[in-house]
Symmetry: C2
Subunit: 104 residues, 2 copies
DNA sequence: TACAATACTTCGTGATACGATGTATGCATA
DNA sequence: TATGCATACATCGTATCACGAAGTATTGTA
């Protein structure tokens, strides 16, 4: 997929990956893998940003001797997903324009 | 619309705006206005990039004493629009994942 | 004689994805 | 026991991008 378009959905994908249950970096990558390939550097950059924007909270734990950070979505994060619905509708409108060369 | 998502469609929108007939900056803004607001600085940046990427060609003219640059889409530009179709399909897949929390 | 509309240009800034690289542990297997 | 792979997170630097601000110049209009 085109890099720029990708940028528009990565954030929300990560939020969606932790919406139903808390998860951690490595698992998020595996879970998203079938729908969207994503490197570690990219994911951790996004997770950091999402935390700064209060879209998720972090809890550090230790599992089998390894550090593991669990991410939990916040109300603001859930709202972000909802807003994406509207954006997707706009996207479809613009898509129609692009394909048919005319609006609606 | 979210800035990042916007970035993913701006290029293709501009290409779509000149697909059926050559056009110039000021007119492109007016034409796209109903579907997508777009400032001059943004558009001219995009047009320059599209030219550098050989997605369009430019022909300078003078109309009523004012400089007017006509942009003409190339084969590569048309291909870009076609590729966007595939990207849009992927987008829809990812959208389903985000909304339903599951693939397919 | 102002002011709006037309038309294009340049500069600087803040976001962003991502490759490269690094650190550290547990586990299988040769 | 040594090697390599999977797990797990972190940081740095770079390229790309949209966009506001500001500027230049002409035509038409109130």
């Amino acid at each position: 997929m085109d890099t720029q378009l990708r940028k528009g959905i990565l954030d929300v994908c990560v939020l969606a990956a932790i919406r139903n249950e808390d998860s951690y970096g490595y698992k998020i990558i595996k879970d998203l893998n079938s729908i969207l390939e994503l490197s570690e550097s990219t994911l951790y950059t996004i997770l950091k940003r999402l935390e700064e924007n209060n879209m998720l909270t972090v809890k550090s734990t230790t599992y089998a001797g390894r550090t593991r950070k669990y991410y939990h979505i916040t109300e603001i994060g859930l709202n972000r997903i909802e807003e994406f619905k509207n954006d997707a509708q706009e996207f479809v409108k613009v898509y129609s324009f692009i394909m048919k060369g005319k609006e609606q």
